[in-house]
């Protein structure tokens, strides 16, 4: 919808430049190549990965950060359509959308990427020590180094500022040590002019300056650490090998304090906004600190606990309860030292009392700033910034900068977490693809793999690789023992272990090992095949092996993580899992791949803001869309809002969107329509849609679910009994009329979280705090003397919304926090027209306060439209709160677990309009991938029927849920045959075949039997 339009394919470039190789940049690059565009990925540092690569774990699942990121880095490194340019920055962007010329300044690495083998000899011989930036300078590295062992590109580089040879013309030992001859001291800085059609800015965020953190003792006291330092201390590949040790005495801290809002929500450093991620990462870090030390005392100091994301509140509650954290609503202003060591914190609690206490370690939850060099980047790319130096965007075009054809994603668009960054990455890819649709596939090439080695007739030669996964597995399971044990198993000719099996260097090692030891089966004992099988299978293809010759043993998700306190039992279990996997692997055979054509159209269910946006973003890419809406009108619940926080009228924008939808040639709209049946699979769905005119069957390749939500209807606080009690939406409506307040209104009270966060709805609806602030400010604008009191649990004014919170306080709006156990009480006045009375507990007074108010506004949450029926038809999972469950909360935030099915809007989780738009664009981008590719390659796990033993009974045919088996006549005999394209590999036919004539690819009878028998060898 905010794509700049160019229709001249002769001059439109099919390439996109992505500035910044963090998770957002990498994701948008991967999405873009899948959509048929060439990508130049420009990264300022020497390796892609960004901040996510430096994180130990991620909230709320405490998934290993690098483990889930590394496959993406490897994929980007492998993709023939992604050119990664490191140590490079955008210098200038000239031209117009579709025909830009980007000038890139590329600094030398001094080590030839193409020649470097990553052996590390240069570092070994380098005489010049420098701080290890990746580990927050908590340990040393050398001038010749690699940032981290899983770095992509897997090549070393020389730090120009400190290298002895480059600065003093001495040393040069690395050049002698390098066997590959990759050292290039004479390499010069280069200027590259690259033609691209669009640019995506993803430079990430900057750090709060040390000066700001010095207030809290950083630099003065060794045991005051930043959250980034703490993250590295927790990490197995960090400076302490995964032990949280005080810097001063290398001892385990017994009392840790986390201070929140460091450099955020802080006018003294001009960072007035909320950084949106620190509340979550502090809870994560505290949880991990607890894992590291069960006896440690952990205290978290909060102003508000802003865990507003999907499932975040539940994760916070569980973490606090299970780990016995102390949570204090206070902001200690400084850190002091005490004579006998230790760090002193003083604070005043909500009741105004002063406290002080000593801690062993203080962690500063530092906020996110605009990226370093934001102004230069803005000047180079010709975009405008907001007052905090983040990219300026508008509410209805959240991913578009002020310059057409230049998009922004990730933290540079405003502080945000990984899922939201990944979502925006998908959205920007869709917008670029829409803008450059005429040039799709004009600059991309097809990935090629070596010819597959025929292993027919070979004895199994199994290679086993056991992954430490940092300390995720290695901290519990005795990995060396498992690897040694694997070496003793029949047919295993090679076994070894890796710190991270999914890293780029490990893939190279896998390929080399496969060749060297002539392996013809591969077993990786690591995490779960559900996430990592595709990565290793791609590696097998690179090594010339059929991808079906692969098996994984799940020794993390189903072993080390669930038996954390039983290392011996977990090690035995891991050995059993490896033995069973090897047994199965010996029975694996190479399977033929199939390519199925795709119906190049999408079905979008729901025509609210999310559905409309998704439909447009798909249609703009040139694919047909059928938009199905249950009600008679398009527009959904966004129409209930009379203004956004910038004063724009959503109704006006919605009208424009609806007009574009109605005019769009590629979009067919069905209103009063219901989805009644769905069959097929990614690329080839058939959906029955029923309207008043009857039932119509739509053929489509992908499905986007945008079924939306509805306002929670309260019964609390006299709602429905007194005309004085409204919801925020009722108030919105009145504000839209311009006369929201009855005359004589002197006091308005707003109550937050009505029905939310543990009442009827277990979750936080994310938008209600912002809506209350917005409406309160609107009321104040109309009636400056009006008294407004907002009773809240936590004000979740995340990101730039904090500006509204500050403004509201400046306007004299009173905020008072209440606890769930001590909710406000509302009573009718004595007379018919007398005001209501609201009684609440005032923390500062330490007593109950009663005020009379003429209007009470309830901030109520969002309830998703019950997706149960649709979810059952589509086989997609639903959470306990009735939101659709995405495939991966961090890295596949809009994909549903069923291939070819996507989700956006309130069906996913509560979110604001700009977030909904970005998410809908992301769903559109992801959905168009199979459509742009034109074919799908389903896993070759289909059924195979042996005609020798088949008796033609037809049982398989009758039970197959996909009509994927037919009976044919072979002379006089009846035989069954699989229609490979329709088979999904469930195996019901095999389980019912009376003569065991049917077997399943990769899940063969003999393979499973081998697993069962290997299980039986358990000690």
């Amino acid at each position: 919808m905010n794509a700049a339009r160019t229709n001249n394919s002769a001059t439109t470039s099919g390439a996109v430049m992505v500035i910044g190789g963090g998770v957002a940049g990498v994701q948008t690059a991967l999405d873009l190549t899948e959509l048929g565009y060439k990508v130049y990925l420009v990264e300022k540092s020497a390796a892609i990965g960004g901040v996510m690569a430096r994180l130990d774990k991620t909230f709320p699942t405490n998934d290993c950060s690098l483990c889930i990121l590394a496959p993406k880095l490897v994929e980007a490194g492998r993709d023939p359509n992604i050119t990664i340019i490191t140590l490079a920055e955008l210098e200038d962007l000239s031209g117009e959308p579709g025909r830009f010329t980007a000038r890139i300044r590329k600094k030398p690495r001094y080590i030839d990427e193409e020649v470097c083998t990553g052996c590390g000899q240069c570092t070994l011989y380098c005489l010049k020590q420098i701080g290890n930036d990746f580990n927050e300078n908590l340990e040393n590295s050398h001038a010749a180094h690699i940032d981290f062992s899983q770095a992509v590109p897997t090549s070393y580089h020389i730090d120009a500022k400190s290298c002895l040879r480059l600065n003093h013309d001495t040393c040069g030992l690395c050049a002698v040590a390098c066997r590959a001859g990759a050292i290039r001291f004479d390499e010069k800085e280069k200027m590259l002019d690259i033609a691209v059609g669009a640019v995506v800015l993803a430079p990430g965020f900057g750090r709060v300056s040390d000066e700001v953190m010095a207030k809290y003792g950083l630099g003065r006291f060794k045991d005051v650490v930043t959250a980034f330092e703490h993250e590295r201390l927790m990490c197995a590949s960090g400076p302490t090998g995964g032990e949280i040790l005080r810097i001063s005495d290398k001892k385990h801290p017994k009392k840790i304090a986390f201070l929140q809002c460091i450099g955020s929500r802080d006018e003294t450093c001009d960072n007035n906004y909320c950084s949106s991620v620190c509340c979550m990462y502090a809870i994560k870090q505290a949880t991990l600190a607890r894992e590291h030390d069960p006896d440690c005392e952990i205290t978290l100091f909060y102003m508000d606990i802003r865990t507003h994301g999907k499932g975040f509140d539940a994760a916070r509650q569980r973490a606090i309860k299970e780990n016995n954290f102390r949570v204090i609503y206070a902001r200690p202003p400084k850190v002091e030292n005490v004579i006998d060591g230790g760090l002193l914190l003083t604070w005043s609690s909500e009741d105004g009392r002063h406290h002080y206490e000593k801690f062993d370690l203080v962690v500063l939850s530092q906020g996110l700033e605009a990226p370093h060099g934001a102004e230069q980047l803005a000047a180079a790319s010709g975009i405008e910034l907001n007052e905090y130096l983040f990219a300026a965007t508008a509410n209805f075009t959240p991913l578009a900068t002020s310059r057409p054809g230049v998009y922004v994603i990730g933290a540079f668009q405003g502080p945000k977490d990984i899922p939201d960054s990944v979502t925006q990455a998908g959205g920007a890819a869709a917008l670029c693809a829409g803008q450059l649709a005429p040039a799709r596939a004009s600059e991309t090439i097809k990935a090629t793999f070596p010819k597959e080695r025929d292993i027919e007739g070979e004895e199994p030669r199994v290679g086993v690789f056991v992954c430490h996964c940092g300390i995720n597995i290695g901290g519990v399971v005795n990995v060396p023992a498992v690897a040694d044990y694997a070496g003793t198993l029949p047919h295993v000719v090679y076994s070894s272990r890796n710190l991270y099996s999914c890293s780029q260097d490990a893939q190279k090692m896998l390929v080399d090992t496969i060749h060297e030891h002539k392996l013809n089966r591969l077993v990786v004992a690591a995490c779960t095949p559900r996430t990592h099988e595709p990565l290793f299978q791609a590696t097998m293809r690179e090594a010339g092996l059929n991808r079906s010759l692969f098996e994984m043993a799940n020794i993390r998700d189903q072993c080390s993580w669930v038996h954390m306190h039983e290392p011996e039992a977990a090690t035995e279990k891991a050995k059993d899992a490896v033995r069973m996997a090897v047994a199965k692997a010996c029975h694996l055979t190479a399977l033929a791949e199939q390519q199925l054509p795709v119906t190049p159209g999408a079905l979008v269910v729901g025509a609210g803001l999310a559905g409309l946006t998704a439909a447009l973003a798909i249609a703009d890419q040139g694919f047909g869309v059928t938009l199905v809406e249950r009600s008679k009108d398009l527009g959904g619940k966004a129409l209930l809002l009379s203004a956004d926080r910038y004063g724009n009228k959503p109704g006006k924008s919605m009208t424009e969107v609806v007009q574009r939808i109605n005019k769009h040639k590629k979009i067919k709209v069905l209103t009063n329509a219901h989805v009644t049946a769905v069959s097929g699979y990614v690329g080839n769905f058939s959906t029955s849609v029923t309207t008043a005119r009857g039932t119509e069957v739509i053929n489509h390749g992908v499905t986007v679910l945008a079924t939306g939500g509805t306002p929670y209807q309260p019964s609390q606080y006299l709602y429905g009994q007194s005309a004085r009690v409204l919801t925020q939406l009722d108030l919105e409506k009145r504000l839209g009329t311009g006369k929201p307040l009855p005359r004589s209104t002197r006091q308005v009270v707003m109550i937050q979280c009505v029905g939310s966060r543990g009442e009827d709805l277990s979750y936080c609806s994310r938008v209600c705090c912002g809506q209350a602030l917005k409406n309160a400010i609107r009321l104040k604008a109309l009636a400056p003397d009006l008294r407004i009191t907002i009773l809240y649990r936590d004000i979740r004014a995340y990101g730039f919304m904090e500006d509204d919170y500050r403004q509201a306080r400046k306007l004299g709006i009173i905020f008072s926090r209440y606890d769930i156990g001590n909710k406000p009480e509302v009573a009718l006045g004595k007379g018919r027209n007398s005001p209501l009375t609201v009684k609440y507990f005032d923390h500062l007074l330490g007593d109950s306060v009663e005020i009379a108010c003429e209007m009470l506004v309830l901030s109520t949450g969002i309830v998703p439209e019950d997706p149960t029926d649709l979810a059952k038809i589509l086989k997609v999972p639903v959470t306990a709160d009735k939101f659709l469950l995405e495939a991966h909360v961090k890295l596949q935030p809009v994909d549903l677990p069923v291939d070819g099915t996507f989700v956006c809007g309130l069906a996913h989780s509560p979110r604001s309009m700009d977030e909904t738009i970005a998410q809908a664009q992301a769903a559109a981008g992801r959905a168009c991938q199979p459509l742009a590719r034109g074919f799908v390659t389903p896993a070759p796990i289909v059924s195979q029927i042996n005609p020798e033993t088949c008796i033609g009974c037809g049982a398989c045919e009758s039970f197959c849920p996909y009509k994927a088996i037919t009976i044919y006549k072979n002379g006089k005999q009846r035989k069954a045959r699989t229609i490979t394209a329709s088979c999904k590999g469930c195996g019901v036919c095999a389980a019912r075949c009376p003569t065991l004539a049917i077997d399943m690819g990769r899940f063969t009878y003999d393979g499973i039997m081998a697993q069962i028998h290997a299980f039986g060898e358990q000690k």
Binding site: T61, C559, M564, I941, F1003
Partner: protein, 204 residues
């Protein structure tokens, strides 16, 4: 009773129970380390011989985990699993093996904690009833031999045709409750089983 550490073999479907088991890990929910897992795409793949072979081969108990009824990723694979499971229970009963040693249950992809609850309770139960043979008051080794013969029988055409007929009738009637399915399987397989057991499956 000395402390018994049971061996449990699980067959989990890729889409629900295996995913639930993964998400239990991601959430760091802890459960007893007795389960060993074989991943299948669908519980519909469950051949009746698998659990029997597992018990014969050394398992003290078998767990089959799939999607909730009505939520099978492949439409109705878990109903067919109920048919296979009913035969396994029927055979176990005839052999005098405790029914408790074989459990088929459901956990959706979103239900990590539920998976943990099921496995924890099942492991406890099996720990209580002890190694195969103890609760049955029989010689474990003998029982395993009989179970191996039963697994062989489950591969026989006659018994499998019985299951086909049971599955067919279940799909026709669309009654998927466990007693109904068990009744169908008993009906359709009784004759073959009678013959098998008359011949002396135990003695074979």
């Amino acid at each position: 009773m000395t402390h018994h550490n049971p061996k449990i073999l699980g067959f989990l479907c890729n889409w629900c129970c295996y995913t639930a088991a993964d998400s239990a890990g991601v959430g760091r929910y802890q459960y007893p380390p007795n389960l060993r897992v074989i991943r299948m795409m669908c519980t519909g793949r469950l051949d009746p011989s698998f659990p029997l072979e597992g018990l014969a081969g050394g398992a003290d108990a078998i767990f089959v985990g799939g999607c909730h009824p009505g939520e099978c990723h492949y439409i109705d694979g878990n109903y067919h699993a109920l048919v296979s499971a009913a035969l396994v229970h029927e055979i176990m009963e005839r052999l005098g093996v405790s029914r408790d040693r074989f459990l088929i249950d459901w956990a959706s992809a979103a239900e990590g904690p539920n998976f943990v609850k099921i496995i924890t309770a099942f492991t406890q139960k099996i720990t209580e009833i002890g190694p195969l043979g103890q609760a049955e008051d029989k010689n474990g080794a003998d029982l395993r031999l009989e179970l191996a013969n039963a697994a062989e029988a489950a591969r026989s055409r006659k018994l499998r045709i019985g299951l086909i007929n049971a599955s067919k009738e279940m799909m026709k009637s669309r009654h998927f409750t466990r007693p109904v399915v068990a009744g169908l399987v008993r009906d359709k397989c009784a004759k073959t089983l009678d013959t098998l057991f008359d011949k002396g499956i135990a003695a074979a």
